[in-house]
């Protein structure tokens, strides 16, 4: 699954961080940044409700390929600036985090079935 697939699946909008079509290696859904830092996977897609600079900085620490913020939360200008500086695509989705997890899971399963 690529970032473009994530945006399509989650009816998302790329808000900052620049375009990328990197492949998603793993999906982490969490609002506790220390939990995210515990994750060992590569090319993580971070799903979070945390609309703050720290979500993007944490994503950068773990080498995440993109960050999705849910419930169409307004994203602070500083968060967008951090995403632009670090080059991490920041996506806004109207869905809840739970709904996003379900949609992405179903999309991944469909992808596996070909």
């Amino acid at each position: 699954m690529k970032i473009s697939d994530v945006i399509k699946t989650l009816d998302g909008k790329l808000v900052a961080g620049g375009e990328s079509d990197a492949t998603v290696g793993a999906i982490v859904a969490n609002d506790l940044m220390s939990d995210v830092l515990l994750c060992d996977a590569d090319d993580v897609l971070l799903l979070t409700s945390l609309a703050s600079d720290q979500a993007v900085r944490t994503a950068n620490i773990v080498g995440a390929v993109a960050v999705v913020v849910h419930n169409a939360k307004p994203l602070p200008a500083t968060m967008c600036q951090v995403a632009d500086t670090l080059g991490i695509p920041l996506i806004s989705s109207p869905y809840s985090k739970y709904d996003s997890c379900v949609k992405l899971y179903l999309a991944q399963e469909a992808e596996k079935r070909g």
Partner: protein, 330 residues
């Protein structure tokens, strides 16, 4: 060794770099000044071009005129890139007194020279200026060729300029330009054998928390550390930076890189941790709702650091403060 070969003397003496630096910049000087001294190498500061010099055949009268015309107090005696000696105002005074101003430099120049190597950290130059009374030192490369000269004035000029940049950076007014030490490390694609950088962390400044960890990550990537090690270092640096920001009165995060390990040191000004053992357990936290609203305060910070580091040490005193040291083998 020929009679013209300079004798290279050792810097000698047992005082530590920190003690020497403290003498130079004062014990209470901002840590950023200390960091600047650690960051630079001799070649970043020395004058490497337009060096006024003498040959062995030049007379001391010529030397006197060059010293006077250029308002300097010492000149290297060179043959191409080879350094044979130094002529300073002292030799000129003696020549005036003794009446041998028209003798060749080779006859009276100093040949017992103290030199610096271009790759030495600037702290070595500082130590040499402290140990010797010379106003300048010739600088040689690994092949023992003359590459420049360093004076106290050169050091002061470069440090003041860089300090000014650093202050601007700290004030958020500029995106710091690539610093010489980092640039050379990058261009060589090699890990510098020693470098240190310190970041100040301000209490409750969540807008900037995490910047140091991200900068450390970038810095380690630039010098070619493996991605797996970088990730572990960055996780610890980030957790510690957040801890200093949200739990302490402020402090610093320092990264020290040498040939076999990366060390992250977090140091704060208090109030200290009552029960360190308890604080290092998973899920224990004194965080308030504000901290939790920022995505932290799950009580995983110190245990995350322990998990990723090869060596983890913590010391805390109430109300003195907490120091955490995490080491990572590379």
């Amino acid at each position: 060794m020929s009679e013209y070969e300079p004798k290279i003397l050792s810097g000698g003496e047992s005082r530590s770099d920190d003690e020497i630096m403290a003498d130079y910049v004062g014990k209470d000087s901002p840590l950023v000044v200390m960091e600047l001294l650690q960051r630079f190498r001799v070649k970043d500061v020395m004058r490497g071009s337009n060096i006024i010099s003498l040959t062995r055949e030049d007379t001391l009268r010529t030397a006197k005129e060059r010293l006077r015309d250029n308002k300097i107090s010492g000149l290297p005696v060179l043959d191409g890139k080879r350094l044979f000696g130094m002529v300073s105002v002292n030799q000129i005074i003696r020549a005036l007194e003794g009446g041998w101003l028209d003798d060749p430099c080779s006859k009276h120049m100093s040949t017992s020279l103290v030199v610096l190597e271009e790759d030495m950290p600037l702290t070595f130059a500082l130590k040499y200026f402290h140990n010797y009374t010379f106003g300048r030192f010739p600088v040689l490369n690994k092949e023992h060729e003359f590459v420049g000269i360093i004076s106290q004035r050169d050091m002061t000029n470069v440090l003041l300029k860089e300090l000014s940049n650093e202050v601007s950076r700290l004030e958020g007014k500029s995106n710091a330009a690539v610093r010489p030490a980092e640039a050379s490390a990058r261009s060589e694609g090699a890990i510098p054998y020693y470098s240190m950088r310190q970041f100040l962390v301000v209490r409750n400044d969540m807008a900037n928390a995490g910047k140091a960890a991200n900068e450390i990550k970038r810095m380690l990537k630039d010098v070619g550390i493996s991605a797996k090690v970088i990730r572990r270092v960055a996780v610890a640096a980030y957790e510690l930076e957040i801890n200093v920001c949200i739990h302490s009165l402020g402090g610093s995060i320092t990264v020290v890189l040498d040939s076999n390990k990366v060390t992250i040191i977090s140091k704060d000004k208090g109030p200290g941790i009552q029960d360190v053992e308890w604080a290092c357990q998973d899920g224990t936290s004194t965080a308030n709702d504000w901290i939790r609203s920022m995505g932290f305060g799950a009580g995983m910070g110190l245990s995350n650091c322990k998990r990723v580091a090869d060596v983890f040490n913590i010391k805390s005193s109430v109300p003195g403060g907490t120091t955490v040291i995490c080491e990572f083998n590379i």
